[in-house]
Amino acid sequence: MQIDARGPRFGAAITLVVLLLVIYFDSPILLAIQTLVWAIGAFAGPHKSPYGYIFKTLVKPRLKSVGELENVKPPQFAQLVGFIFGVVGLVGVAIGSPTVFLIATAFALAAAFLNAVFNFCLGCEMYLLLVRARLIR
């Protein structure tokens, strides 16, 4: 399946703002909401997540240029990585470790920043390394 390549980047920009708020307000609830968004993006597809929906209904109709299409799998992989960071952060809250919460959120913030600002392709850089390290198939 192909989606507008600008959608995931737009989603990353919103995620960046949300994660800044998570850290500023020290808010596990906001992180839980963001983790839910990642879960939808990772398991149903980024185009079905709330940010994808906002892009499709509010942003894309206002864009004059036609965006390039990309396979849905790479941004879906990035959503999955975000979801894992989110779960780790929430586990940190559950076990009473603010350090785990902050570190996991900081990693997710870094990934969202790289995606939003540099159009960083997480799947290009990480997937093969994880396969080579036998951490995933």
């Binding site: 850290i23 990309e70 600002v117 290009c124 850089e125 093969l128 390394l129 080579r132």
Partner: protein, 146 residues
């Protein structure tokens, strides 16, 4: 460390990493070694008469299809250059042997089957053209799509 210091540190490190990738990806880098020739790699394809391009991709690489199109467009009038795309996960043995760590990684082999260099990431059109010209030493007739 307070929260703002943490945010600032994350953004600074991420910016440095992003800039590093921006300035290093898509450029021709030196070959890894001349120890293994194309014929010894068991790629499953034949060596091109003038040059051979191997592109390693993964299914989670968003820029790989675009790079493949770019290369196909560039070499379409030159039958002496062979281009093959390989899934790095399916041929993880080959990826390891050739020190491929990210996708896309594009390897250039000369007519003797020795690696002349590689480009990691999405190459610029001029970079691709110059590399192929250097390897084949024949001025290619390229239809400039731009």
């Amino acid at each position: 460390m307070n929260h703002w210091q943490l945010v600032l540190s994350v953004l600074l490190v991420s910016s440095a990493f992003g800039l590093f990738l921006h300035f290093t990806r898509g450029k021709l880098t030196k070959k890894y070694s001349n120890e293994v020739s194309f014929d010894q790699l068991n790629v499953g394809h034949e060596l091109g008469k003038k040059a051979t391009i191997l592109q390693f991709k993964t299914e989670y690489c968003s820029i790989c299809p675009g790079v493949k199109r770019q290369i196909n467009e560039l070499i379409k009038n030159d039958k002496g250059i062979s281009f093959y795309e390989i899934d790095a996960v399916e041929r993880i043995d080959l990826a390891k042997k050739l020190h491929v760590k990210s996708s896309p990684t594009i390897l250039f082999f000369n007519e003797s089957g020795l690696e002349e260099g590689r480009i990691i990431g999405a190459p610029k059109r001029d970079q691709l053209r110059n590399t192929l010209e250097k390897i084949t030493t024949i001025k290619m007739e390229i239809t400039n799509a731009n």
